[in-house]
């Protein structure tokens, strides 16, 4: 469940989040987190692929409203 721990850490620790943007692999190793490249890529899409801040729960809920 490393992905969950990393998502939590990003949201609670601004310094960790900032370093994740510059050197994700080094930052994860420093904290002892092990993410696969695949997981890191999925995480990055919500963090670094956007011009605004990190993806928010409200964004997700609004976007998925009425998907059915």
């Amino acid at each position: 469940m490393a992905l969950a721990q990393v998502a939590y850490q990003i949201s609670k620790d601004r310094d960790f989040a900032a370093r994740m943007r510059i050197d994700p692999e080094g930052t994860l190793a420093e904290k002892g987190f092990e993410l696969s490249r695949e997981e890191l890529a999925f995480l990055s899409k919500g963090l670094f692929g956007r011009s605004d801040d990190q993806v928010s729960l409200n964004d997700l809920v609004a976007k998925m409203r009425g998907w059915r």
Partner: protein, 323 residues
């Protein structure tokens, strides 16, 4: 999928009920519970597209979509029947059609859907083209549903699931359900086991993705107020499973205090969402949605699908979980 296909699915279902000499009043009760009989098409277009998953996978595997009409009709009936039972077991708000008449009536309708679905699948024994797959498809449905019941059992008895338990349950329920639809549809058109397995994995990840969307829907403010009123259910939805697993004791207490509030309203709903977001819930769910969407696309690609179903499945899947 074209609307004439919806018409064909309706006819297949209706024919079972007419051949069974059911009373028109009971048939009317069954209609009430099935969205395709009582809604306008444009209000549930996404539902119609995904309802045709067996048709689409059959076509993507090189067959004609209509070959899978019986499977689609049966899968729809199982889906709605399971949804009814799930709502009753989870003490959800009743759907409009059974609100007045009670859960006993709803359970009986669900049972009727299961037997109707079973009858539809048995029709594959009657035709030369489908005779060879009748037994494996029916066995696959039965074993799959047994596993779903097992998943539901653990879901019901595990009051505060861990993330690992959540993924196991969702895989056993939603993942299994959509993988059955995909591989059974494909198996009508190909005997290539590796392609069928790829369709199966595609459906599995699609099912998990759809369950995540369902869990996200629960966070819409009105839905969240309803969800909080059913405390037993709150802790089984992904945002809360995640938050309770990663947060510290103070944060967990804060979440619990919202859930235990006697007057949970829109204001508190908004505050609770903000709290969940501060714990990284949005980041986590988004990453998981990307993962299952990509894995579904990868599996679909390996299934070597043909057009036009390939494009439709890829496009519809791309729309899910994209932000």
């Amino acid at each position: 999928m074209q609307l004439n296909s919806v018409h064909s699915i309706k006819q297949k279902i209706e024919s079972v009920w007419v051949r069974s000499d059911l009373d028109p009043d009971f048939i009317e009760a069954l209609h009430q519970a099935l969205p395709i009989f009582n809604s306008t098409e444009d209000t549930y277009q996404n539902f119609i597209d995904w309802m045709h998953l067996p048709n689409l996978c059959c076509q993507a595997a090189g067959g004609e979509p209509f070959w899978a009409d019986e499977i689609t009709a049966a899968w729809l009936l199982f889906y709605i029947g399971a949804h009814i039972m799930d709502s009753i077991e989870d003490l959800d708000m009743p759907d409009e059609w059974w609100d007045l008449q009670g859960s006993g009536v709803a359970l009986n309708v669900a049972s009727a859907f299961f037997f109707s679905a079973s009858t539809l699948l048995n029709e594959y024994y009657q035709h030369e083209r489908t005779h060879r797959i009748a037994n494996p498809v029916i066995t696959d449905f039965n074993i799959g549903f047994l596993r779903m019941c097992q998943g539901q059992h653990f879901d019901l008895v595990t009051k505060r699931p861990t993330l690992q338990q959540y993924w196991e349950t969702v895989g056993a329920k939603s993942g299994t359900f959509f993988s059955i639809a995909s591989r059974s549809g494909a198996s009508l058109a190909t005997r290539d086991d590796s392609r069928i397995e790829s369709f199966s994995r595609f459906g599995y990840h699609l099912g998990i993705l759809i369950q995540m969307l369902d869990d996200l829907e629960d966070l819409d403010s009105n839905n969240l107020i309803g969800l909080i009123s059913n405390r037993a259910q709150v802790y089984s939805t992904l945002p809360f499973v995640y938050a309770m697993e990663v947060s510290d004791q103070d944060e967990r207490q804060q979440i619990n205090s919202y859930i235990d509030s006697e007057s949970f309203d829109e204001q508190l709903a908004s505050e609770l969402i903000r709290l969940l977001d501060e714990l990284g819930t949005g980041i986590f769910i988004h990453a998981e949605m990307q993962k299952h969407r990509e894995k579904a696309l990868e599996a679909l690609d390996k299934a070597n699908p043909t057009n036009p179903a390939k494009d439709l499945l890829t496009t519809k899947l791309g729309e899910l979980g994209k932000i």
